[in-house]
């Protein structure tokens, strides 16, 4: 994201682009585990939506339809609070690529 210089910034330290944090993909922090949605077990209680700190539960036309992995950090609150006997959300292992940054 290009940062504006002092001559370009709005006077008064204003940020007029409400909600532009969506370009910050918190899903890149996720390491090791991610939630998996099993639709057949879902009773649409919306607890996962409620307890997701990173707004990563996808709701489409009034239904929970899975996760937005761009934002999911893999905390596991959704799977923990999923109330069904056969869980509709399980945490699974995830291979992560470690990108080594070049030494300066």
């Amino acid at each position: 994201m290009k940062k504006e210089t002092w001559t370009e910034l709005a006077i008064g330290a204003l940020n007029l682009q409400a909600g532009n944090s969506v370009s910050n993909l918190t899903g890149t922090w996720r390491s090791g585990r991610k939630p998996e949605f099993i639709e057949d077990n879902c009773i649409q209680c919306f607890f996962c939506w409620l307890y997701c700190p990173h707004f990563a539960v996808r709701v489409e036309e009034g239904k929970v339809t899975g996760f937005n992995y761009d934002y999911c950090t893999g905390c596991g609150l959704c799977a923990e609070e999923c109330p069904t006997k056969e869980k509709a959300i399980v945490m699974v292992k995830e291979e992560t690529k470690i990108i080594e940054e070049g030494k300066k």
Partner: protein, 312 residues
């Protein structure tokens, strides 16, 4: 009664891409509170986790008008905004039927400690605004220093546990009671695990005529040191042990919103978090005993107040 399904389809006033920790309790609280009013909203946010993490330059996670004020004066800022709104309404520059809601927000550091004077002044002047304190018991944003909301025995970086110290040796300040003493129309204590209760309280706060104050327990896996997926279970435990009673005070009348069927020993709460781990050493047994006594005393006091309030 509100349904989660309906709330989920409302527009997000706080959006994704904020930088809060894994399993953080703050977004859970504000997800509900920001949906408790449909009126336009102006927020003044004291320095703290929520402020820092949602507005990392050049981004913002807020979809509503939002002002960052310094650590100490979120309440003064929002009071000023509210006063200006009234003045503009009197001059006819804002239509008489246009409603705007005002919200001041701070963590326990910005509310219990640094912002207390500004908050006290703003509510004393009777500005019509809601103040929400998300209380995670510690200055989490700056590395876990003790605040006056840190409970007895908890280890914090400026009250560390070790051979010479059992963690913090003072108890918590009871902020909700301080706010009740201001004789404002609405004061409540809530927790994210009972979302319906939190939603109702936020709604009442926004509809109150005069200042309203909400103190909400905020989960903090980073500083409390627990498995971040267990947060909601912990909030439940806080209510079941009466460490964090859920109650409201409407025009001076107390009402307890959740009474555990069987009050759990405070030991279960202490066992669940790393910040209390050192208390299980032999020499610190007195602290656990003292914590239990304090919790019992406060709960007894609260139930009596509720009992008196229920009389005609």
């Amino acid at each position: 009664m509100a349904k989660l399904k309906d709330l989920a389809q409302m527009e997000d006033r706080l959006v994704a891409g904020h930088g809060m920790c894994l399993g953080c309790g703050i977004p859970l609280i504000f997800k509900i509170i920001l949906r408790a009013t449909e009126d336009p909203l102006i927020i003044a946010n004291a320095t703290g986790c929520l402020e820092v993490c949602t507005t990392i330059f050049p981004r913002t996670a807020w979809n509503v008008s939002w002002i960052h004020s310094a650590f100490e004066n979120a309440a003064s800022t929002i009071a000023g905004v509210e006063a200006m709104y009234k003045a503009l309404k009197n001059k006819g520059k804002i239509p008489a039927d246009k409603k705007i809601k005002f919200l001041g927000v701070g963590g326990d550091g910005g509310t219990y400690d640094i912002g207390l004077q500004a908050l006290s002044g703003a509510v004393e002047r009777g500005h019509e605004f809601v103040y929400v304190c998300y209380d995670n018991n510690v200055y989490a944003n700056t590395g876990g220093q003790r605040s006056s909301a840190t409970p007895l025995g908890a280890s914090a970086t400026t009250a560390p546990s070790g051979s010479k110290s059992p963690g913090k040796i003072q108890g918590r300040k009871d902020l909700a009671q301080i706010m009740v003493a201001h004789k404002i129309p609405y004061v409540a204590q809530a927790s994210p695990h009972r979302w319906q209760d939190l939603y109702n309280k936020a709604k009442k706060a926004f509809e109150a005529v005069g200042p309203a104050f909400l103190n909400v327990l905020c989960l903090c896996p980073t500083e409390w040191k627990y498995d971040e997926s267990k947060g909601i279970k912990l909030a439940q435990l806080a209510a079941d042990t009466c460490v964090w009673p859920l109650y409201e005070v409407e025009n001076g009348r107390y009402k307890i919103n959740y009474k555990p069927k069987q009050k759990k020993p405070v030991l279960e709460w202490l066992e669940s978090q790393g910040r209390f781990r050192h208390l299980f050493k032999e020499e610190n047994a007195w602290i656990i005993e003292k914590i239990q006594q304090d919790v019992d005393r406060d709960w007894e006091w609260l139930t009596r107040l509720a009992e008196i309030s229920s009389r005609p």
